[in-house]
Amino acid sequence: MLTCRARLTARSLLRIPRICNIISELALVRRESHNVSIMEKAARNSGSGVARAVKMAIRDASKFYQTRSGAVHALDNVSLDVREGEFLCILGPSGCGKTTLLWSMAGLHTLSSGDITLGNEKITKPHPEIAMIFQDANLLPWRNLIKNIELPFELKRRAPDRARINMLLERVGLTGFENKFPRELSGGMQQRASIVRSLSVDPSVLLMDEPFGALDAFTRDEMNLLIQEIWMETKKTIAFVTHSISEAIFLADRVAVMSARPGRIAEIYDIDIPRPRSIDIQTQPDFIKRILDIKSRIEHGRGAKLAIT
């Protein structure tokens, strides 16, 4: 109750004309930090969120690519924990190695040094508990939607779990499109199909590689809401790579910001905005402040680079 009221005052303060902005922002910041500490205490007391077990651990991961023009240092001593049931966003500019990191977590790349573990198992090849969602949906164009979704079962030589597939199709609103080919579906529908494909095998970890990057802003908002709902319903551990700051803040429990060349974890932000989050929160001052925070962190890192070169 107390927190709520404090927030409301902060918000109404912001509505005062521009001259007062600086003062009000200062006030907001102070109040926010106050709020955070209260909320964190509450969370700690209730035992949720903060002290979650580590699901996947990345330790000193480094990766070099051999190209014609020499070695590229893609990852440099990256250490990061993905906690049980959390929504972790990995954020960074293009070419910062975030996709390399994710593909390594999926066991699709090998690291030059360091290791990635799931529980006690070291990830060196794809693991059945981990499912990957790719950029641009990555459906096979020669298979219709249902055949695409049944692909994982086919590859594992198992009978497809029809009940689960139908439930998931229903959940994402694709019932009735089973016999359509990917080219007959919109980008959003394709990506929803790919989400169903990944969830159909019931993995405990979901790795998402800029899944909504190619979608228009409206579809992207829809997909963000959908993935939030699915995450809240299924309690999967999700690592989500994106280059959109607002998407990262909107979705994540924690945002890991990466710096470019070589890829490092620059900073980890806790996002304690209560859920379910609506699309509207993206226009609220607190949200925008978070965006600016992260943006300045990224630009600061880049500015230093530019000064050197």
Binding site: L108, M132, E154, L155, K156, T175, F177, E184
Partner: protein, 281 residues
């Protein structure tokens, strides 16, 4: 809520465009797409006009039979001589199918294997190009010296003509790897063999079918040519036989049979392409 979203989004039918097809099939695959009854009628009408016109012109101008026989005579010859032509049709078909099966299988396997090893591919490609560009007919006299006048030299020539065609096209298909699709299969624990059968082959399928089509047409050319060069059987041999006797209606009915075989091959692969590779159109 999400269910509603799904219903709202319109279907994205991309049927209007035939463009963006691959290689040689580009024109052909889209040729028979959607034809209205009217168009079919016009096509038949054109055929009737041409054949009728020919018949009439040849009749009025009194063109001698050994220059150009009338269509009616050609058709008559086809029926009256059918029982003599039939065995030769079977022989040509047998040679074509055997030679093509051998050539296409070797070509397909080579393409699949070679594209996995870039170094080997670079070494082998010039020799394959040599096989593609050299007319295999030129080898027939040599093959006859070695294998005699049976169908073996012709089968070998057909295999040599069609195999490299299949290989070069299939290799193009296998080279178009989409790493994301392979990664997708791997992320679900696919084995190398599964990646090959579930991802690589379907992805290469449009080009494989193009290769099979071109290869089989080349095979037919070589079959007829080889039969004309040596031996006493097959449709090619009949062509030289009838022309030597100046039996032009029979000669033309053989050409008609060959045209029909060519068209059948084309239609078969067209149908196959529709069935297995229509996703790319």
């Amino acid at each position: 809520m999400d269910k509603v979203l799904g219903d709202k989004i319109p279907e994205f039918n991309k049927k209007q465009a035939g463009g963006g097809n691959v290689g040689l099939s580009g024109a052909s695959f889209s040729l028979g797409d959607h034809r209205s009854k009217f168009e079919i009628l016009v096509i038949i009408l054109v055929a009737v006009v041409i054949i009728g016109g020919m018949e009439l012109t040849l009749h009025i101008l009194k063109v001698p039979q050994y220059v150009l026989p009338k269509p009616s005579l050609i058709i008559t010859a086809l029926f009256t001589e059918w029982k003599f032509m039939w065995p030769h049709i079977l022989i040509t078909l047998y040679e074509l199918l055997t030679g093509f099966a051998i050539g296409a299988s070797i070509g397909f396997v080579l393409a699949a294997v070679i594209t996995q090893f870039p170094f080997v591919e670079k070494i082998v490609t010039p020799y394959i190009l040599l096989l593609v560009t050299t007319p295999m007919l030129a080898l027939v006299p040599l093959l006859i010296l070695r294998f005699g006048f049976g169908s073996e030299p012709r089968i070998i020539a057909i295999a040599l003509a069609s195999g490299p065609m299949v290989m070069i096209n299939a290799a193009t298909g296998f080279r178009r790897v989409d790493l994301a699709k392979i990664a997708l299969a791997r992320s679900f624990g696919a084995s190398t063999l599964q990646i090959f059968t579930k991802i690589r082959i379907p992805m290469a399928m449009p080009m494989i079918i193009v290769g099979l089509m071109v290869g089989s047409i080349f095979g037919l050319l070589t079959a007829v040519g080889a039969e004309m060069v040596g031996g006493a059987e097959g449709l090619g041999n009949r062509l030289t036989y009838y022309s030597a006797l100046i039996r032009m209606p029979q000669f033309f009915s053989i050409i008609l049979i060959l045209a029909f075989m060519g068209i059948s091959i084309y239609v078969f692969f067209f149908w196959l392409g529709k069935k297995w590779a229509s996703w790319e159109a």
